[in-house]
């Protein structure tokens, strides 16, 4: 169970936010979504883990408190985006989900 890694990533992302006012809500929501995404990825191995279940409930509460939607950017936070290939944060522009490393194609035609 890697819930502690999720916790530390979230706290690292939000450290310095002493008072999370409304002006910070979009970025905080982005961090929360990334936190939720992280917990879902580790859900299978964390069943029954108290820290995991506390985190899941805590995220839900914070989502409500800060009026965060569950959809939206996952990785872009304070101008940084998680590059999955390198597992490092790099700069990103707004309204771009991520910096994409590889593309796939799907097609449908004919009878």
């Amino acid at each position: 169970c890697k819930i502690l890694k999720c916790n530390s990533e979230f706290w690292a992302a939000t450290s310095g936010s002493h008072h999370l006012g409304t002006e910070e809500a979009p970025e905080f929501c982005t961090a929360l979504r990334a936190y939720a995404h992280c917990t879902r990825r580790t859900a299978r191995t964390c069943r029954g883990d108290l820290a995991y279940h506390s985190a899941v409930h805590g995220i839900d509460d914070l989502m409500v408190q800060h009026n965060c939607s569950k959809d939206g950017q996952l990785f872009c936070f304070r101008g940084s985006v998680l590059n999955k290939a390198s597992d490092k944060f790099v700069s990103c522009s707004s309204c771009v989900l991520s910096q994409f490393s590889s593309y796939t194609h799907c097609g449908l035609f004919g009878d």
């Binding site: 771009v96 989900l97 593309y103 796939t104 194609h105 799907c106 097609g107 035609f109």
Partner: protein
């Protein structure tokens, strides 16, 4: 229809009725396929619905819908972009050929979609980042969708078998009740000659073209295969993998 999946597997499927093509956190695409001839197992796409889910402060939820003889160059609400937010232009529709060819750019998710109407039926092609393909809430419970997993076994058609049978018979007719005689009878030789006009490489697009001419007699399907390959050339990231020659072999024995 013929499918080329995200993993470059190639299948020909029945999938009559409504089926999901793509379903992730950002995008949902669904198609409806109808028999090309009464009672035929071979179907083609008659309706396509694309839902771009709202994306934070960037784009509103937008729905694009195309049907036979109606290929709009706008979303269902009449708009051509992602709404009124500051990132609205990261989603937009471009009309390439009126009523025949549109392109949707969703820059915020690095995605390009091409929809065409060729003859009476629709074609679909997408270029999508793997990060978006894999952006699902819970992959373990992820439902079946065709671009990712291909068709279920019981929906796959083994068109090589049909081709062999037709080659032996030398006529564009299948025995049995599932496929009635097409309106214009191509022989295997005339179908291959026709397809070679637009598709000189005898890959799976060429073979699909031959299959379609044999099963329907509708030469528009030759153009559908041609444009499908044109879209692959534009959208596929690996230029060494444009042509496919080997079909996915996971066919249920006796399925056809």
């Amino acid at each position: 229809p013929h499918f080329r999946t995200f993993t470059d597997t190639f299948q020909t499927c029945k999938v009559q009725g409504a089926w999901p093509l793509i379903d992730n956190n950002y995008l949902n695409v669904q198609v409806t396929n109808t028999p090309v001839l009464p009672g035929s197992a071979a179907t083609a796409t008659s309706k396509l619905t694309i839902i771009f889910k709202s994306f934070q402060e960037c784009v509103d939820q937008k729905v694009y819908q195309a049907e036979m003889d109606e290929l709009p160059a706008a979303f269902a609400d009449g708009s051509k972009n992602g709404g009124d937010k500051h990132g609205a232009n990261s989603l937009k529709i471009t009309e390439k050929v009126s009523g025949q060819h549109i392109e949707i750019q969703a820059k915020y998710i690095g995605t390009t979609i091409v929809v065409r109407q060729v003859g009476r039926y629709l074609t679909f092609a997408v270029r999508m980042p793997e990060e978006v393909v894999n952006a699902v809430e819970d992959r373990d419970s992820q439902g079946l969708y065709l671009c990712l997993r291909g068709c279920p076994l019981n929906q796959q058609i083994d068109f090589q078998t049909i081709r062999s049978a037709q080659g032996t018979e030398g006529r564009a007719r299948r025995k049995g009740p599932s496929l009635p005689a097409p309106p214009e009878a191509f022989t295997y030789e005339t179908a291959t000659a026709k397809c070679r006009e637009k598709l000189p490489v005898e890959d799976l697009y060429f073979q699909s073209c031959v299959f379609d001419l044999l099963t329907t007699g509708d030469v528009n399907f030759m153009l559908a295969a041609y444009y499908a390959f044109e879209d692959v050339k534009m959208l596929h990231s690996n230029k060494d993998k444009l042509h496919l020659y080997e079909r996915t072999r996971d066919i249920v024995a006796g399925n056809t």
